[in-house]
C-alpha cells in the first residue's frame, strides 16, 4: 500500500463520523523507484489531504521529507526538489506490514504483504 492510497481511505464503521485519516502503523516498508511525471503530480496535488500525507510519511520515519504546511500550488511549478519529494512520498514508499487504525474507535485494520484488510465485521456494516 502506497501513501496515495492511504490518503484516500477513511474508516467506514457504522456510526463513525470522524474516521479520517486512519493512523498508519508501519512495521515494514520498502521503497521502489517510479517514473517521475510532473504533470500527474501537479494534477493530483489539489486532491491530496496534505496533513494526512505528512502524518503518514512521519509514521514511517520520514520526518523532514515534506513541509508541515501545504505548499502553494505555484511553488510546485517552480520548485523541482519539492515536487520530487512529493513524488517520493506519494508513489515510491510501499508499506508492507503494519496496520491502519481508526481515529475514533481505535479499530485496527491489518496490512499484510502490502495489502490492507478493510473488511468489516458484520456488526460494523452500515445498513
Amino acid at each position: 500500500m502506497r501513501l496515495l492510497t492511504h490518503n484516500m481511505l477513511s474508516c467506514n464503521i457504522k456510526g463513525v463520523t470522524n474516521g479520517y485519516p486512519l493512523r498508519l502503523e508501519a512495521e515494514k516498508w520498502t521503497e521502489k523507484e517510479v517514473d517521475f511525471n510532473a504533470k500527474f503530480l501537479r494534477g493530483i496535488f489539489p486532491k491530496i489531504d496534505w496533513p494526512a500525507l505528512v502524518g503518514s510519511a512521519r509514521a514511517l520515519g520520514f520526518n523532514d521529507l515534506l513541509p508541515d504546511e501545504a505548499p502553494d500550488s505555484s511553488l510546485l511549478a517552480s520548485d523541482d526538489d519539492l515536487l520530487r519529494r512529493f513524488h517520493r512520498a506519494l508513489l515510491e514508499i510501499h508499506v508492507e506490514e503494519g496496520g491502519l487504525v481508526c481515529p475514533e474507535t481505535g479499530r485496527r485494520f491489518p496490512i499484510n504483504k502490502g495489502i490492507p484488510n478493510l473488511l468489516l465485521h458484520e456488526d460494523e456494516v452500515q445498513v
Partner: protein, 219 residues
C-alpha cells in the same frame, strides 16, 4: 501499445486457482480485457495519466491492463485475499505497480474525488441478486471521469434504466457486445465451455449535476 501486444501480455496473467462460486469469480480473459481498456484509452483517453480503480479486481487483469496503457496510479479492490495475492504476484511478474485493498466494494469509504476512472467486471448478479448494481452505485460515487463495466447483454434495458434514472449518469452507452468465454469452472456447469454475450458499457456524468443527484440518492 498495440492491441495485439496488450492482449498477449495479459495472456501471461495467472487466473483463479480455486474460483469461488458465491463471489461469481470468472476470469476476465485477455481478449475481452484488452479490448475494454484499449477502447477506454484510444477512443476516450480515460486511462493514460489517470488514477484508475478496478472494482472486484480478482487476479488483477483490468488493473494491470490499465497500468500497461499508462495509468499513473492503479488500485484494485477485492473481497477475496487469495485473488489479491495472485493479483499482487501478477503485477510483480509483469513489472507494473498496482495497489491492492481487501474490502467489500460496497463498504468502502473514500475521501474526495481522487479516482478518475473505474473499470470493472462485476459479478453479474446471477448468484446474488443486485450485486452488479451495488458495484455500479459505488463506482458512480467515486469516479470523477468515467466508469466502464461489463454486464450480461440480457440485462441491457435494466442497466440503462437504473444508470440513467436512479444513478443519474448523464450518459450510459453500450460500446460493443463481446463474447465472454466461461470455461467449465464449477460443477453446475453442464457444458464444457459456454459463450455468454456481454456488453461493454461506458457511463459519464455532468459533475455538478451528478454530485447533486448522488447526494439525493446516497444519503
Amino acid at each position: 501499445m498495440k492491441l495485439k501486444q496488450l492482449e498477449s501480455l495479459l495472456g501471461r496473467i495467472q487466473q483463479f486457482s480455486n474460483p469461488k462460486l458465491d463471489l461469481e469469480q470468472y476470469p476476465t480473459g485477455p481478449h475481452i480485457a484488452s479490448r475494454m481498456l484499449y477502447t477506454a484509452e484510444n477512443t476516450f483517453g480515460d486511462v493514460n495519466g489517470k488514477v484508475v480503480a478496478d472494482f472486484g479486481c480478482g487476479c488483477g487483469t483490468l488493473g494491470i491492463a490499465s497500468a500497461f496503457l499508462g495509468a499513473d496510479y492503479v488500485i484494485g479492490i477485492d473481497v477475496d485475499l487469495q485473488s489479491l495475492e495472485t493479483a499482487s504476484q501478477n503485477a510483480e511478474n509483469l513489472e507494473v505497480d498496482v495497489d491492492l485493498i481487501q474490502c467489500d466494494v460496497k463498504n468502502l469509504s473514500w475521501r474526495g474525488q481522487v479516482i478518475d476512472t473505474v473499470v470493472m467486471n462485476p459479478p453479474f448478479g446471477t448468484r446474488k441478486k443486485g450485486s452488479d448494481m451495488e458495484f455500479l452505485s459505488v463506482a458512480f460515487k467515486v469516479a470523477s471521469q468515467a466508469v466502464y463495466s461489463l454486464h450480461k447483454t440480457s440485462t441491457r434495458e435494466h442497466i440503462k434504466r437504473v444508470a440513467l434514472r436512479d444513478f443519474c449518469a448523464s450518459s450510459a452507452e453500450v460500446l460493443c457486445e463481446l463474447r465472454f468465454d466461461v470455461p467449465q469452472l464449477y460443477k453446475f456447469h453442464k457444458k464444457k465451455e459456454v459463450d455468454i454475450a456481454v456488453d461493454l458499457w461506458r457511463y459519464i456524468f455532468f459533475f455538478y449535476l451528478g454530485s447533486l443527484c448522488k447526494n439525493i440518492f446516497f444519503i
